[in-house]
Each structure stands twice: as structure tokens, then as C-alpha cells.
Subunit: 161 residues, 2 copies
DNA sequence: TTGGAATGTCAACAAGGCTGACGTATTCTG
DNA sequence: CAGAATACGTCAGCCTTGTTGACATTCCAA
């Protein structure tokens, strides 16, 4: 392949790839500790996060966002419901659907997890500066494929508390 | 918590967190397909990547970088050696050590995996622009914790290919 | 009204993490 | 030189979290 102006050398790309690998490990390290103490895994965190984000969402909805099979999600969801962190209510309009919401205990755990994860992201943002943050998000967005990007955009536009 | 100038609002942090989640999925999607075809998983990719990066590295070294137990790494390594993708040779200076290298077949697979993963990163970089890339790397570096950052730096300074 | 699509649950299996215990070869150290 | 420490491999067993397959319930449209 002819290198040409604007073409990133192979070593730059490898560096970026390694940065993603190591950064993702750091990104999940703090919540993982809390989860492990409580006997949960990363899948539980993801479920709590997105239920918090879209209260009353259905199982199917969550499936699409998380990109796993319904059987896989169901196992996680079942333990969260048994442990009283998530509430599942039969749909009023469509009784096949289950609407998912966090209980007070669920909100508390989600808050703890978000707290430690946000702290790290906040520190990284503060240390790298606002322009770096803009670049960070721009590259990440481009790294998603179309479907993931749609989910991301939809959630972003909801605005969060 | 009193918000003050320069303090990122919670919603910005949540957006960044979700961006990391979705982007990481995209980041691994293409290599995952190739790996799955060959009956391998992400763990095999990581081993191949870092052996390629540091030819002749020892098992202990790889353990530290990957952050897994030797039992876990051993399972992956054993299949790669059996399948003739990795070669393990007894250390010359210290015969307790095993030095790991890719065979020709191992290099070929690593090249394929790197090819598709780099393609996506390259496209993202090209589309976001060089300043965004600088910001991207800056934020990722800050997101690592100290030990991971050391590994990252050591590898980066080796230079590429 | 009935057959198919959609939604969700249960069962069983595999990958790949983990801990703990142990064996062997080799090197280092007191 | 004897014994401790290091590097590596392996066995056994556990957990999380992904998968497929089979099934019940509910809705909707022909």
C-alpha cells in the first residue's frame, strides 16, 4: 500500500488500538470492584445503567441496546429483580411486554457505580482539556457502526439528569 | 455538589461513558467475526497482538500486560501452540523462561485481525481529523491507571512494526 | 377464530475469567 | 551446598456471561 499524505502509519494505528485496550480496562476497573463485592458482573452494570437512562423500557428495547440475546439478558435481569434492584411490570397496552424500572435500592447502586466511573472520566476530561474531549467523542462516534451510533444518538438526545 | 466553572455536567459524563461502551463494541466487532470463524475468542487476539508486538516475550511478561492469571492465559496459549500459530522456546539465558513468537501462520492471522481493526480505526481517524485524534489519545491515556499506563508507554516507545 | 409473529422464560452448554493446590525445573542466596 | 525463590505448566472446580433450543403467553391479521 502506497503511503500518502494524511495516511496514518501502521504504528500510529497500533498505538491507538493499544490505547483503547488499556483505557477500557481502566474505564471498567472501579465499577468492577463494587460489582464484585456485591456478587454482580459487568452485565448487571450495563442493565442498571440503561434502565436508569430509559425508565420503563422493555426487555426487547434493552436487548437491542446491549446487543446480547434475550436469554443472556434475562439471567441478569432475573437476579436484579430477585434482589429487589429492578422492578418488572406487565405492559398495560401490550401484556407481552415487561416494563423495567429501578427500585430505590437499584437507583442507589446505579448511583454508586456511576459515581466511581464518572469520577475517572471527569478526571481524565479535566486533565486532557475540553478540546481533547471533543476529539475523544468525535473519534469514538466514528468508531461505532451505524446501528450502535443510532442507539448512542438516541440516548444522547434524551439528555440525562 | 456545587457545580462550578469547568465542572462537566453529569449528562456529559454519561454521554462519554456510553460512547466508550458503544465504541468499544464497534472496535472489537470486525476481529471478533474472524476469530469466531476460526474457533477463537478475543483472548486469542490479545495474545497474538502482544506477542507480535514483543517477539520473544516471556509468559510472565504477557501475564502482566494482559492482566489475567497464568491459568487463563495458559489455556489460550496452549491452543495457539497446538494449532501452530505460536512457538514457545526455552530461554537460553534462563531456562525457566519460555520465549513466545508467532509462526508464519500466526503472523498471517495477526495480520488479518490487525487489518480489519486498523481499517476501522483509520477510517475513524480520517473522518474525525488529526486534532480529534490527538484529543482521543490524550483522554484515553488519562483514563488508564498508573500500571496500565506504564505498559502502554513502554509499548508505544518501542515504535511500530 | 385461528395461525403466525412477538415477547419473554427455562434449560443446557461453551468460552474464558477466577482461586487454590501441586509438580518440576531452574536460579539465586545465605 | 542446601534451601528459598522464581518461572512455568497443569488439574480441579467455581462464576459470569455469552450462545441455542424448546416452550408459554399474548397479540394481531387473514
Amino acid at each position: 500500500m502506497e503511503p500518502h499524505a494524511g495516511m496514518k502509519p501502521d504504528s500510529d494505528l497500533r498505538r491507538g488500538i493499544e490505547a483503547m485496550f488499556f483505557a477500557y480496562r481502566g474505564f471498567t476497573a472501579d465499577p468492577d470492584r463494587i460489582l464484585h463485592q456485591r456478587g454482580y458482573g459487568r452485565a448487571h452494570h450495563r442493565a442498571l445503567h440503561f434502565i436508569h437512562r430509559s425508565p420503563g423500557t422493555t426487555v426487547n428495547n434493552l436487548l437491542a441496546i446491549l446487543g446480547v440475546t434475550k436469554q443472556s439478558l434475562n439471567r441478569v435481569l432475573r437476579t436484579l429483580i430477585e434482589d429487589g434492584l429492578v422492578e418488572s411490570t406487565v405492559g398495560a397496552r401490550d401484556k407481552r411486554e415487561r416494563h423495567l424500572d429501578l427500585t430505590e435500592a437499584g437507583r442507589a447502586l446505579e448511583r454508586d457505580l456511576n459515581e466511581v466511573q464518572s469520577a475517572r472520566v471527569r478526571a481524565a476530561y479535566a486533565s486532557a482539556g475540553p478540546e481533547a474531549v471533543a476529539g475523544f467523542e468525535a473519534v469514538l462516534e466514528q468508531m461505532m457502526d451505524a446501528e450502535l451510533f443510532r442507539h448512542y444518538k438516541r440516548l444522547s438526545e434524551l439528555g440525562g439528569t
